[in-house]
Every structure is written in structure tokens, then in C-alpha cells.
Subunit: 214 residues, 2 copies
DNA sequence: CGATAACGGTGACTTAGGTCACTCTGATGA
DNA sequence: TCATCAGAGTGACCTAAGTCACCGTTATCG
């Protein structure tokens, strides 16, 4: 992580599986785009013009309900691609999902016009795309499992566990209200459940942040 | 629908978008496999050896919870491919999803060893695969929307509407218990909600089947 | 510094939906 | 033809979780 990494350094460190010629093509045709924290990368109804590979930052994907409430799905981190930008890009369809940068984020933008050729010419790209689909698919299945079969306290536990491990930290700066939002619940409920977790010595609660004890 | 349709006739009628050479390759390398009603096409933990294109019958995809209860996701009909068999096939991964024939079903089995070539050589195949992913992805998003944001009566209404339109029928032979299973609810709840729908003249209830009035 | 707003805690209440227990009815089959 | 059983209806009850109202604490900013 230099002061000013180039496309080349990003690709080499984050996408080592790409074959050399593919890397060249991406370096030639891709462009870096920065997103401020809280900026939308993608929103409902938008038409995609590029596929996005995340090279820096953190992106939150969520579903928006009719009445405006959100429902967290998963994060994209450096090295991930946005499966939806791939699908929607190739199909010229609009997406029903919101993607918002929650940290300052840099995306490597690949013009959709390139997709066909990349798929056809570069096996490592094709595998990468498939793997992207597969892992996002699995992620959605896990989401479904959770909301279909689990109760709120289990979902909260799962949410925290995933969050702590995704972000590789022991103390998370987040409010109860934000968690409630992500789980489509209400602050009071989350507060009460967190309190129980604290009593079970699984977390320690502070104002604006939570410590994880497992 | 002849007495004994061949691979060729299936492909021509169900996959008209495929380019001629692709059709030839599929005819040469694919094989038809029949599944009895209630037979599993795919179950949790299984390793895939082929990609499956459905050419006859009806397949139900569902998620299995730890405690054994099911959760309906979507149907596959003739002309559809199993997105999971594609993903898992290429990645040699196991799947967390169950696929069960609910009518006598015929699948056109494409050996996974062919996938790379097909993707590379035949644009119409590549588009077909992407479209398969995209539509299943959308389907999962809809499922998430429903369980995350909707109440049971809305979900039931949605379920019936989809079922009637998917199966192109006005009277559905299904028990309340089966519906409850699909929605991961309980028979009594479904019975009560159905009764309300009947009072609103949206359905007529009979023993073992339901008439739809919209 | 004082006002204000965000965050979090808590009790009281409501409600959707799950569970239990029992009944009735139509179908099946010995 | 009678016994059995699956499907369905229904009342009573329970519980998780959402909602409301209110309060205390901490951080921030004019």
C-alpha cells in the first residue's frame, strides 16, 4: 500500500491468479475510480456501464425494502468483484440492490464492452467470474438460512461473528441502531439481546463500540 | 411432445437461441436422464459431475435447515438450467441446496469436462449461462425480500400467485401442510390465512386442492 | 459553558405467528 | 361396511419481537 498505487500494483497483489496477458489487458483498459465513504457505487434501477473490481476500501451490499428500510447482505473487500455489476453489465439490466462504500474505496472499472472478449480469451478471468458468482450465491443462501430458520439472537450472534472476522478486529465501532438496521430489526430489541450477550461474557458493550470476547 | 423426443428435438424447441454448432456439440455429448417423481437431482454435500438442463418435468429447489425443515426457493422448468450444477460443476464444490423432481423429469446432462470449451467457443452458451445466473440471483433476492420484509399473509399470497402462474393452472392440488412446509410455517397458520383469503373471494378451498380466483 | 442531539437502557404493552388439543369429514382399503 | 387415517377447522394459549414512552449519559458544537 504505497501512497499512490498503480493499477498494476493493485492487480499484482490482489489478483495473482490472473494470467499475464489478462493483467496487461486490464491495465490498459481499466481505470481507477475513487468513492468517498457513504457514496453509492450502485443503486436500484441504475444501468451498469462497467464491471467493478474492488481494490481498496469496503463496500456494503444491501437490499432496499419498499418502505425504505434496508437489509444487509454482504461486504465486498479488496480482491472481490461485484457479481451484480458483472451480470447487469453483460445483460444491460438494472439492479435491485444497493452498493455503498462504507470506507473510502477505490474500484477498478472494467468497461462492459470488454467482458465478452475477456470471458472468451482468458481462462483465469472466466474462472474468476464463476468463483465470484458462486461465492455470492452461497452468501445469499446463508442470508436466507438465517432469516428463514434462525431467531433474532442467533442472527445477531452470526452477524457479529461475521463482522468481526471479516473486518479482522476485536472491537467494532458501530451503534445498536446500525445493527438493527442491518438486521431489519429495531434498536431496542438489539440493545436487549446485546445485553444478554454481555451477561454471557461474549461481548463488552461501550458507547459507540463493541468488544468481542471470542 | 412426441412419444420419444430426441435430444435434438428438445434442444431445438427449448433452446432456440443456441447457435447451430453448439447444438451439434450438445447433441453429441449430452445424454438424457430421467428422474422419477420425488427423486433427488441433487442433495446437500453431493459432488456434481454434470450440468443439468431440464427438458421435461418440474424440479423444486429448496434449502434444508439444520433441524430438517425445508424452505422452498424456486422451480426449474423445461428450458431452465440448474445454476448450481453449473457453478458447482466447474468449481467441483458441493452444494447446500436440494433439488427434487416433483413430476417425472428428464434432464439433459452435460459433462462438466465440456464446460470450459463451451464457454470459450460458443457465445450463445456463455450468454445462456450468464442469464441463468442472473435470473436465479434475482429469484433469491425476491426470496430474501419476502422473508425479510413481508408478513406471512403477504408471503402466502405471493407464493400462491407465483405457483399458479408458474404452473399455468387455476386449480392447484396441494395440502395446507405442504404449503406450510414450503414457507417454513405451520399448517394451522396457513389454514387460517387461507380461510381469510377465501372470505376475501381470492380462492376457494377444497380438500386437497385450491382454486384461484384472480 | 450550556444547549442539543445521539446513543443506549428499560418497563409496559401489542401482535403475528407458532403450538397444543381436540373435532369433524371424506377417502381408502381390509 | 366399518375402521383407520390424512386433511382441515378452531379455540386457547404462549412467546419472540416490534412499538411506545420515557429517562439518563455522553459527545459535540455554537
Amino acid at each position: 500500500m504505497n501512497a499512490e498505487p498503480t493499477i498494476q500494483t493493485y492487480i499484482n497483489s490482489l489478483f495473482p491468479s490472473f494470467e499475464p496477458k489478462l493483467k496487461e489487458v486490464l491495465i490498459e483498459n481499466g481505470s481507477l475510480k475513487t468513492f468517498a465513504a457513504n457514496e453509492m457505487l450502485m443503486h436500484t434501477g441504475q444501468n451498469m456501464r462497467s464491471t467493478i473490481l474492488i481494490v481498496e476500501g469496503l463496500v456494503k451490499l444491501y437490499r432496499q425494502g419498499e418502505d425504505g428500510n434496508e437489509f444487509f447482505m454482504y461486504y465486498l473487500q479488496p480482491g472481490n468483484a461485484c457479481a451484480l455489476s458483472m451480470i447487469c453489465a453483460t445483460k444491460q439490466e438494472t439492479s435491485e440492490v444497493m452498493a455503498r462504500a462504507i470506507e473510502p474505496t477505490i474500484g477498478l472499472m472494467i468497461p462492459i464492452s470488454l467482458m465478452d472478449t475477456l470471458m472468451k480469451e482468458y481462462k483465469t478471468w472466466y474462472y474468476f467470474v464463476l468463483e465470484t458468482y458462486r461465492s455470492r450465491f452461497e452468501e445469499l443462501l446463508t442470508v436466507i438460512d438465517n432469516i428463514a430458520f434462525k431467531s433474532m439472537d442467533e442472527r445477531l450472534a452470526f452477524y457479529l461473528e461475521k463482522k468481526f472476522s471479516d473486518l479482522k478486529t476485536r472491537s467494532l465501532s458501530i451503534t445498536h441502531g446500525e445493527i438493527a438496521n442491518d438486521l431489519n430489526s429495531s434498536r431496542e430489541v438489539i440493545s436487549r439481546l446485546l445485553k444478554k450477550m454481555e451477561q454471557r461474557r461474549e461481548v463488552i458493550l461501550h458507547r459507540n463500540y463493541i468488544e468481542y470476547l471470542k
